[in-house]
Amino acid sequence: MEIELDQITQIAAMTWEAILGMTIESGGIAGAPAPARSIAACVHITGAWDGAVLLDCSVEVARHAASVMFSAREEDVSVCDEQDSVAELVNIIGGNLKALLPEKCFLSLPAVVEGADFSSRIPGSRLLLRVPFSCQGHNVTVTLREREKPVATAA
């Protein structure tokens, strides 16, 4: 299965523009400090292709996204709103990536982890693409992971 980096970048750019009315810059901001609190959202794709789409960003990005999506002031946005906004963004990105995959594939519900110090892994998967970009001075990463193929053993 071949998904190109440009395709993910285009989907991410179109998502940010269509949903948040914002443009993104490819490549991310080198040397940027790690955010104090971050959010990682994930949707899984199963069926003809098995893998996951992840979206990582700072809580600031999530808060701004929530304020746009839910037409609220940033100071009124709750933790649930932040998580919902990132979940929705990864859902849209995942849904559009799914359209590039062989039929028939299913998209899962998004799962979100938010906090100051956590590790998040998808055991049994391998990294296909990691696409960093930035938006209004904050780094965002879209990652595509695929289920690892079992290693063939000699007869």
Partner: protein
């Protein structure tokens, strides 16, 4: 014995996952599990911070979260793998993912229908919130082992349900 997937009641879900947990823990970890009263999830986030999450897709759709207290996770993994792994290490998260996979895989046999299960997502932290979005009710089954507490959170529904159709919108761009 499989049942009609369109009649996935809360008691049936509880029974299926209780059997799956018992099956995995008694077979693979050799400990007995006690269950407390199941409930419908009202609060936000998981009970504990070491979580394995598996999504289901197909005739049934939803998610299952197995969240462990740190103590339960560490000691269960030790017994499961025969060696100690520090929380947060790749080997530890792999083992949590595998345990989650076994529980959901065992439950899936009794859920019925043609359903795929995803790769597990595993998160480990003392200070984070884990949430799975979904509008359908989430059944919470508190479990207790000699190693500590853990919970099963299952939100599963048939693909034909109105809630599934409402929340699985995809917004094509361009």
């Amino acid at each position: 014995m499989q049942h009609d997937i369109n009649h996935l009641s809360v008691p049936r879900l509880v029974a299926i996952f209780a059997e799956a947990v018992r099956d995995v823990f008694e077979t693979m970890i050799h400990v007995k599990i006690r269950f407390s009263n199941p409930s419908i999830k009202q609060d936000f986030g998981t009970a504990y911070k070491t979580c394995g999450i598996i999504e289901l897709n197909g005739d049934l759709s939803g998610s299952v979260v197995v969240s462990f207290s740190t103590e339960a996770a560490v000691k269960s993994i030790e017994c499961f793998c025969g060696m100690h792994f520090e929380p947060g290490t790749p080997a530890f998260t792999d083992a949590i993912g595998e345990l989650t996979n076994l529980i959901v895989g065992s439950a899936k046999r009794h859920l019925g229908g043609a359903t795929n299960i995803s790769l597990p997502s595993v998160s480990v932290s003392d200070g984070c919130t884990v949430a799975v979005n979904g509008k359908q009710p989430c059944v919470v089954l508190p479990c207790s082992s000699p190693f500590g507490e853990f919970t099963i959170e299952a939100r599963i529904q048939p693909r034909t349900s109105p809630i599934f159709k409402e929340q699985h919108h995809e917004m094509p761009l361009g």
